[in-house]
Symmetry: C2
Subunit: 492 residues, 2 copies
């Protein structure tokens, strides 16, 4: 393992790229824009999945699985959605390879195995799912349908970055069908709340809930709700979206139902998703120049025990104590790893666990055995304390809770101190130059203004916050009247 990370101050982007690779989270693959998620990174994703899945099921959702491929004719059925994704999709045109007669031993596409209709590798599954729902829905009795799927999707992005923007990524996509507009709206909000709770309680990432403007909306949606987070470099990151689709997909796929009054109506829809992008948000919210910092709720293992010893006898004595601690912690549902590798010295192990963000490190050496103590070190603050062996369970349990809370509070303080109310455009540009996060400003509500601000500053409207109070004002760019502040930022 090479020694030092580039510091965040030096080059934030380089720091991020190095950290993802050095902490063994992910790496680029032989396929342009596609990543390999390594076991340590995948273990974090699995914890996210488990918790989200639990929350979805608790709110009445079930999982299902729909095809990877979308026939072109279905793909183009909802016009806006098709337009939105056509420019960045992988297309299957053939179903066989054959030995190339001009290039022995090599394979080429078999020209005779051309598909009659091209298949799009799903960039999102509304089309294939609504085509399926058509067969599931006849009456209001068949509603609501509350289905989620965990899947891979492909968007042919030209500039990719590990976790943040990759051609293939993993996500969950919920697709629900409802008898009424109100119910579909409630679902849209319910899920955005689930996402916000998950981000705050599990990822320790404070988020702002809001609505997207028309130009930032999901292609095919009538409204898009989102949770927006702020990264350490002052850029925003959209961490999850929940779309109210109105009757657009039901109309595109002719999905009608008989309502309680016996009349035919189109079904109301929502869709919602979070992806492996959340890994990027997690990293850029908490980590530091020494490496990854993980909230205990998502750490693959929350505690690592490093034995300090000079000979086998010492190792055995340390291991005996470690085993007892491990048993005790496991009983409290705390995950522990005993790092018994004999190919690395303790210092190198310390550095690796620091780089990989293990929340708590316990070191046990011969001196500790004599004193009946162990050394407990906290990753997020680098503080160490000597703990009496008898109290180790309680101390570790409390400390994990304390770390989880403290990471959230730190991120919240940072975020709150990086929202600047701005009244004129010069100030707007200055705040952006200083990378100081969200700008809360009045906007005249037009797509033109939004577009011009984006062209001039690269800042976009991240959301119209749900909790923003009504307030008369003037648009920061045009001076036209406005009655609400929106949040601008540069974004990932």
């Amino acid at each position: 393992m090479s020694k030092n990370l580039t510091s965040r101050a030096e080059d934030y982007s380089k720091w991020y790229n190095e950290l993802v690779v050095k902490a063994d989270l992910a790496e680029n693959s032989a396929v342009r824009g596609c990543m390999v998620i390594k076991p340590y990174g995948y273990a974090i994703w699995e914890k996210m999945q488990a918790e989200l899945d639990r929350m979805f099921k608790e709110t009445g959702h079930q999982n299902a699985y729909f095809p990877l491929f979308v026939p072109k004719s279905l793909f183009e059925a909802e016009e806006k959605n098709a337009e939105g994704f056509a420019k960045e999709c992988a297309v299957v045109t053939h179903y066989r390879l054959q030995t190339d007669p001009d290039n022995e031993g090599k394979l080429r596409v078999d020209p005779e195995a051309k598909l009659e209709e091209e298949l799009v590798v799903r960039p999102t599954s509304e089309a294939i799912i609504w085509n399926t729902y058509k067969g599931w829905i006849q009456s209001y009795r068949d509603l609501p349908i509350l289905v989620n799927q965990w899947a891979n999707v492909v968007r042919w992005e030209m500039r990719t970055r590990l976790f943040l923007r990759t051609a293939e990524f993993l996500w969950q996509e919920g697709h629900t069908a409802h008898a009424t507009k109100d119910e579909a709206w409630e679902e849209t909000k319910l899920i955005n709340n689930v996402y916000a709770k998950f981000a705050e309680n599990f990822m320790a990432i404070p988020v702002i809930q809001g609505l997207k403007t028309e130009s930032e909306r999901f292609a095919g949606a009538e409204e898009t709700m989102c949770i927006e987070a702020l990264m350490q470099d002052g850029k925003a990151l959209q961490a999850g979206t929940s779309h109210f689709l109105g009757q657009n997909f039901a109309k595109a796929f002719d999905v009608k139902f008989t309502n309680k009054e016996g009349k035919q109506d189109y079904v109301w829809a929502t869709s919602w998703g979070v992806s492996t992008r959340l890994m990027g948000a997690l990293i850029m919210t908490h980590s530091d120049d020494k490496g990854l910092v993980l909230p205990p709720n998502l750490a693959p293992y929350q505690v690592v025990i490093v034995p300090i010893y000079k000979n086998e006898e010492q190792f055995d004595a340390v291991k005996k104590v470690a085993d007892e601690i491990i048993d005790d912690l496991k009983e409290r549902n705390i995950s522990v790893k005993f790092d018994k590798r004999d190919t690395l010295r303790p210092g190198a192990k310390f550095a690796q666990h620091e780089l990989q963000g293990v929340p708590i490190r316990i070191a046990i050496g011969p001196k500790d055995l004599e004193d009946n103590t162990v050394e407990v070190a906290r990753r997020d603050t680098f503080t160490k304390e000597t703990v009496i062996l008898d109290r180790i369970n309680v101390v570790v349990e409390d400390l994990l809770e304390e770390i989880q809370k403290s990471l959230f509070k730190k991120a919240l303080d940072f975020r709150n101190s990086h929202i600047t109310e701005v009244e004129d455009f010069e100030e707007f540009k200055k705040v952006l130059e200083n990378k100081t996060g969200f700008i809360s400003a009045h906007w005249d509500g037009t797509a033109e203004t939004e577009q011009k601000i984006k062209e001039l500053t690269k800042a976009t409207i991240r959301c119209i916050p749900l909790d923003s109070k009504k307030e008369e004002g003037e648009c920061v760019f045009t001076g036209n009247p406005s009655n609400q502040r929106v949040l601008f930022a540069k974004a990932y």
Copy 2:
């Protein structure tokens, strides 16, 4: 829901197809050969995943994720593997659609967005993974690598059937790297044992462990171990495979390591997988003419409570008792569903739960309330008993265990009574005509004989059983000497 299933005796294949759809497990999609796994079917698959994942982790494996696409040049690097899969793969050739100028509003492949190198949608991931492992392995210290991935794969099958053979399917694929041949062999056997245990203890499916013959082996493997199950119609089903890959992939991708003696050597490999095909095996092992029969360990809910009532007051009284039962059962980790739908009569509910294979049904009506009893019905045997309310927890808990064991025993008895030792080829053909399952016969060990038998009878060698005792004999087809019996059968 349409009433009756075709009976198994009438048309086994039709019975299967109808059952999958009517029990709400899966259906065909708009994409040729690709299925939609519906929530009830997916819930069973999730239970399989959870248990297998637990078993993999318990034996030291970690999950990771590798790209969906395999560049053609990597795909063809291991010759046999490439040949084996080239004829049935989906190929991505373009990365964009555009509006067709000759067909307004419709999309077509953008001819300018042609990929320089075609991408194969993974039919299996050895190639992309071994290309990745090359970067992970330098020394024996980096070994073993024990990685699994849960993923979708695509094989362009021409004749597809829900779960049994679909173009896209879900599976797990383990890919391990080892310093020695012995270790790789141990891993191959370990996993085959995991699969056998899982099949028997969770799916209640008895399996025979064995080795595949050369012609039935995985393309690129040196040996393939398998678990073979017998379906009710006398056909065999390969339920899982574990491959010893030797150094084939390490050589194809130049993956060398420095061993403990400081010398360079190629890495030893295994790969292994089970897929949604297991759903087919589950259905065809236990189900009957009334529908699905599920082992309690895999049922989405193990118990369903159906209230019998004529008015709201009765419903409330029944519900009160049901709620108490639910609480008690949940405490014992028994999953229960209270079927309170007011759109269906009890009889229709009974029929649906029978069709969907819920192991235990509890019915509660006004008469039961008076007597302090409930009616408990068992799906697999159709037996009913009246149970005193106080004893319901114990009765249900014991009954679930009893059903799980009884399903296994029934399947085991069936399987054991459907293995026929055969000494000559006329008898061989007669046994096959009567659909009586496995044929245990001597074989001269040549691919020619195997091929001829296959051509004449459609039966293949399912495996050379691990526990088959050495025994001198004569090949059932050629009369040439043989020292071991192998298992023949027609197969799914």
